[in-house]
Amino acid sequence: MNLTLKIWRQKDAKAAGAIETYQVSEISEHMSFLEMMDVLNERLITEGKDPVAFDHDCREGICGMCSMYINGEPHGPDRGVTTCQLHMRKFKDGDTIHIEPWRAQAFPIIKDLVVDRTAFDRIIQAGGYVSVNTSGNSQDANAIPIPKEDADNAFDAATCIGCGACVAACKNSSAMLFVSAKVSQLALLPQGQVERKDRVLNMVDQMDAEGFGNCSNTGACEIECPKGISLENIARMNREFISASISKG
């Protein structure tokens, strides 16, 4: 198929960017979206032009690196997939495809479609961990009984790959879905109890300090999240935060 691509190009963090138009031809419907981008980039390189910079790593939906705002939605029009898992069969011959980077104050653009998501790393560093005794006599995690429902919910929350599509989708650029997934994952498990209160307070604090917006429950994050992280996690984080704030003063 032949396609028209309208892509955000921006030389570096400081440069003013603009949308540029490219034509690509003979794109197979079996290609992934990133393979289509590779076709474009190979051509740009042979023409001696600067290829379009975009993030990617695993190309199988597990690393969370790919991050394109495609036709007005993070990770494109398909549900439950990352950009690397999006197939070209979702598009038709002759389509125009709009491709932009995640847009948020807290995710500054590095180049073209690549944004700096280290704000997420700093939120994790603020509390997204458990302290484990590493002196050689630590207990086997499997020896601690955990109710099935809690284990399932913790696992579901843990499937968040930190891609940032929730922030990109949210009209407020709120990071609540991501942070709530990380808070929930540990709050539900016995190993997470020791730092439970400090964790939620510190992670929310860091989230606010990074300049993400306020959640207004539009639910766009849940719909656009490639891993189906539920709003249930945000409600849990709200509870965790309020009770920790009260008991910790």
């Binding site: 009209k171 650029s173 917006g213 709200n238």
Partner: protein
Amino acid sequence: MSSQNKALGSSIARKFAMALSGLFLLIFLLQHLIINFTSVISADMFNAASHFMGTNALVQFALQPVLAFGVFFHLIMGMVLEMKNRSSRPIKYAYSKPEESSTWMSRNMIITGIMVMLFLGLHFYDFWLPELKTKFIDGVWNIDNRYFHELQEKFMDPVRVGIYVLAFIFLALHLMHGFQSAFQSVGFRHNKYTPIIKKVSTIYAIVVPAGFIFIAMFHFLAH
């Protein structure tokens, strides 16, 4: 280091406060509708209810200030949050399809909210200011049959009735998202109860504003 030590410093505390003030206003609104509805049944009943609300010390000096604060707080906090949210995305998307993942009502709370607040300005001008004047400037506290008459007079004007109808449509849109959203904000989410809350929310958001519209139209047409 942490902002949670400052009152309403954190995003979640603000969200929580927004939800609580909203839930409080929802209760007030229902109470207001019930009292207004008596005007459709009988003028005497409406006068009696209004006189009670207008002269009862608990209502006047405890509930009314709380209500005024609630309205003011909800408005100001709504604006503060909106400004913060706008600044969180300084460069907008050139091409965006928000309707794919969220409702118009949820994305436009500030617009529907401001419309309702503008209407409240008119409402205060129509009913509250005359009420204050009667009570505190003219010193008249004991005439208990004037309310129904005042109400009828206001709803004779088709323009005013039109504005009322429009304002309540905005209120309905605001409540469709606001009611159920408040529960999520305070952390109440449950597989069994959340779908029920959503249904009740939609019913409330339609029935309560429709009730106010009905009352305005009733008095307009009764003339």
